[in-house]
Symmetry: C2
Subunit: 184 residues, 2 copies
């Protein structure tokens, strides 16, 4: 739905967003300039450590502190699972040999952008985190019920995941399938 | 949270999105270029006609047909309630003398953009719809329960409203408060 048509031209290249425009034929045959954006895909990781889920509390310049899953933007040419592995390692120092794509979503019609959610089971600490100059991150282990309850937490940065968790709360059988997928 | 700092410069002006950039000091004192977007605020209207809610089925060029509330983008300098009145009239031909702001939300951290939801009670048909060349709209009256059920409908274009409805479904007392607010 949020794909940019092949005839679109890139009219601006930013540090996060590129802008594309094209002449769109309307229902009456007239033409109008349409516009969509493209940004790097992003990946969020649900890392399982023992019987807990690792989340992070994070500060970034020009933002209130927030709670999130580890994750971030894909580098040029990087596949989603690689992004997940790299971000988990950089942000938390943890690694996993057991990755599974859980869900993916294009959240916004006017942006060519996909969010991928990966489950990373049986995570082990393999190095110290390597944060960049725009990140202050502390990690925390929470239970499955606490993860689900994040869907009500105003400091949780992950509206799309919150929506998925709200839907699961309305369907306890599917919530149980999700819990089993995490192996906890 | 999605406000653009005053020192930001507009580096691109599009038909929907304007791009702003600024030099942001990082935690270690280094600088990095940060980027945010601005777009016109949007308004969605919950129009009450008798004991039903008016929704629309819409086609637009380059989009699958979808279900939505009446609404649209604010014109330059237009206040949210004016946008709601204008869009309701243009898209459906209905008007109301009883408007109330129900909720507002900035859905996306990297875009300076607010969505406003208005309740328009006791709507009456006052003219024929005046659609532009990029709209094909038919209207439909639905019950309160059908409105709430739209939160599960994949063709419903309104992820943020769907999220609010999901939360209400988890809290029946608040759902009842919402129903009473609609006077149905």
């Amino acid at each position: 739905m949020s794909k940019i048509p092949p005839q679109a031209k890139r009219v601006f290249q930013g540090v996060i967003f590129d802008v594309y425009q094209w002449e769109q034929e309307m229902f009456d045959g007239s033409k109008s300039t349409f516009e969509k954006l493209r940004r790097s895909n992003t990946v969020e990781v649900i890392p399982i450590v023992g019987d807990k889920i690792l989340i992070q509390e994070q500060e970034q310049p020009e933002k209130k502190s927030f709670i999130s899953l580890p994750g971030g933007r894909a580098d040029e040419g990087e596949q989603p699972q690689e992004t997940g592995k790299r971000e988990l390692l950089e942000e938390t120092g943890y690694g996993s040999e057991d990755w599974e794509l859980w869900e993916q979503l294009e959240p916004y019609n006017k942006i060519d952008w996909t969010i991928y959610w990966y489950i990373a089971r049986d995570c082990k600490k393999v190095q110290e985190p390597q944060l960049d100059a725009g990140e202050k991150i502390t990690t925390k282990l929470i239970t499955f019920d606490e993860l689900v309850a994040l869907s009500d937490d105003k400091n949780f940065y992950g509206g799309e995941l919150a929506m998925k968790l709200l839907r699961l709360r309305l369907e306890p059988e599917k919530l149980e399938v999700f819990r089993k997928k995490l192996c906890i």
